[in-house]
Symmetry: C2
Subunit: 169 residues, 2 copies
């Protein structure tokens, strides 16, 4: 094996410099959207791997615990970023990274962003209810602020499908 070239991706060795660079990229990216380091590591290693990896591989190569590996995979599966590969005649599952960003992003939007927006819109309705009960003068000021909020939310809502469209392909 050459000194830089030995990708842990093959065989059982340590992680190569290249692997580490790539994994760090994913750690950063996942942190950005609020996911823990271990999740980024797992996805990164799977992304970089040339074949499906089992949980043991992840634990050994990333030096993470059983629990972290299991929970990280659970999350990544739930979000569609990682797929299970059933190998016939093999007891344990193996995992691969889904390379299509779009699926991942769209599930992030569907499961994280959209519900939040919806809760916000409900909240605005409740606020409008509260404002109704105010004196005319107060009501006017209240509705001004509520309308500003609404404006924000609607903008956000309009934008999301577009981002999705852009990502998907």
């Amino acid at each position: 094996m050459s000194s830089t070239g030995e990708s842990v991706t093959e065989g059982k060795g340590r992680l190569s410099e290249l692997d580490i660079e790539a994994i760090e990229m994913f750690i950063n990216f996942f942190k950005l959207i609020g996911l823990p380091k271990s999740v980024g590591e797992i996805y990164g290693l799977l992304f970089v791997a040339t074949r499906p990896l089992a949980m043991d591989d992840l634990m050994e190569r990333l030096q993470i615990s059983l629990g972290a590996a299991s929970q990280g995979l659970k999350l990544l599966r739930a979000v569609g970023a990682v797929k299970v590969v059933y190998t016939p005649g093999e007891r344990r599952d193996r995992y691969v990274a889904d390379l299509e960003l779009s699926r991942f992003a769209s599930s992030f939007i569907k499961e994280e962003l959209r519900p939040r927006l919806e809760r916000s819109l409900q909240r605005i309705e409740r606020m409008e209810g509260l404002a109704e009960a105010m004196s005319p003068k107060e009501r006017k000021a209240a509705f001004e602020r509520i309308d500003r909020l609404k404006h924000w939310m609607e903008k956000g809502q309009k934008m999301m499908p577009w981002i999705l469209k852009f990502l998907v392909r």
Copy 2:
């Protein structure tokens, strides 16, 4: 004062139900982009307020510490979400929320997202350097993965100006 209507926004009272609803919205929103609760509270109260507030007001009404108020305002100012209002014949500064989402979002993209992407692209260059040093067989596999990464990054980079354009206005 009516029971629901007394907005702390005016005078020195407690926060009204309406104020609290609005502030909670901002806490959620700010959490989404990884900012602490206190920052969301501050922006929320300023958003909801009908006139500029001083640091004391924030501390008193939100029940946060001196440090939290100062640091939160510092961050919000840096990011363009809050402006200082100098009142002539007034010793302390007063603050208002900048209501234009666009400015805020664009500074977030400029200061958080874009630098990250740039670092990622640099990282990819480094990775290409590492891959050059590999055996032909390994190099091929490495470049395959690197190209996948590049694809992601370029997509992200292309999308950002568009999102900005959508937000600004």
